[in-house]
């Protein structure tokens, strides 16, 4: 047995879970390998430290009424009815969301842009705003259309 394979069996060895043949093979290896023997001692100490650090949790005394309450809650409806009710609820919510999306899309597509934004500034107003910007920054060569592209709408 090689060192890396021996070390993989340490936990099972310490737990008494190694089959006799593998255990013998490991013990044979340990007898001749000081490094693995030291590693086994270290592993044993680590597992012991884990056990020592463990603080056994204590069952709360008031848990039984909570179990009864949960049981009553689930027994109101048989499971297939509860399942069906939940599926129906989920389907209704999904349908409402889908309808909302479709309705919103239809409303926005069905109306011309001008009607959709009746308070939008006129072309003249937008040009005035454009001219208020630094014309050098936007480039006069592009003309009014070029400026318009830069005006925030």
């Amino acid at each position: 047995m090689r060192c890396h394979r021996a070390r993989r069996t340490f936990s099972a060895y310490l737990d008494g879970e190694l089959e006799p043949r593998r255990r013998e093979s490991l013990e044979w290896h340990l007898a001749g390998c000081e490094a693995c023997a030291a590693e086994l001692t270290k592993t044993r100490a680590q597992w012991e430290a884990l056990a020592e650090a463990d603080q056994t949790p204590v069952l709360p005394t008031d848990l039984w009424p909570q179990v009864l309450a949960a049981l009553s809650e689930t027994e109101r409806l048989p499971w297939h009815r509860r399942y069906r009710t939940r599926m129906l609820q989920a389907a209704c919510v999904s349908a409402c969301i889908a309808l909302g999306f479709v309705g919103g899309a239809l409303v926005s597509w069905g109306q011309p842009a001008a009607e959709a934004t009746p308070n939008a500034p006129s072309m003249g107003e937008r040009l005035m705003v454009a001219e208020a910007f630094d014309t050098a920054a936007f480039g006069l060569n592009e003309g009014k259309e070029g400026l318009l592209r830069c005006v925030p709408k």
């Binding site: 430290a49 056990a51 039984w64």
Partner: protein, 182 residues
């Protein structure tokens, strides 16, 4: 009722007998809560898991096959609940351990106040490190090291082979060792 064996209690439970559930709760709630608490690391979630395990036992009593050992079956329910449980924080802890966290405290110093405080602190760190392990490694470690289950029982509970359990424990040990700061 208290004298009835688990299998008879499960039969009674299948007919809706809540007194049978009460007796089963008294017999098994301790380990259910213990495993759940060690797995999730807080009382609130451990209570929720324990409660839902007993609700499941009540609801599934009719499907229980008496050939299976009841404790193994309950362990399986607990493990499934724990593995499906997503901690409310939803994040995996990252803990760095120091070599000293694994050193045993000399028995002669055990009752010194500073040693008691040190032990409590070290326990908290090690427990946090265990909770930071991947779920299946953590469960294998809990069942093996703290519940004293054999690899065969753990394999049956986790639905894997004995070899896989061995491998899970080797990896758990490695993962804990990787947490060493140096």
């Amino acid at each position: 009722m208290e004298r009835l064996d688990d299998k008879t209690l499960m039969k009674n439970l299948a007919t809706g007998d809540r007194q049978a559930l009460r007796v089963l709760y008294e017999r098994h709630a301790e380990f259910v809560y213990r495993v759940a608490y060690r797995f999730v690391g807080n009382e609130e979630d451990a209570r929720d898991i324990t409660q839902s395990v007993f609700v499941t036992i009540m609801q599934s009593a009719g499907r229980y096959k008496p050939e299976a050992k009841l404790t193994t079956w309950i362990y399986r329910v607990v493990v499934n609940r724990c593995l499906n449980h997503r901690a409310k924080a939803g994040r995996r802890l990252r803990v760095r351990l120091g070599e000293r966290d694994f050193e045993a405290i000399p028995a002669a110093d055990e009752n010194r106040p500073d040693r008691i405080a040190e032990r409590a602190e070290r326990a908290a760190i090690l427990q946090a490190a265990i909770r930071a392990l991947p779920e299946r490694q953590r469960m294998a470690l809990i069942l093996s090291r703290f519940e004293g289950q054999s690899y065969e029982e753990i394999a049956s509970v986790l639905g894997c082979t004995k070899k896989s359990v061995e491998s899970l424990l080797v990896r758990a040990k490695k993962t804990l060792a990787k947490s060493f700061s140096k």
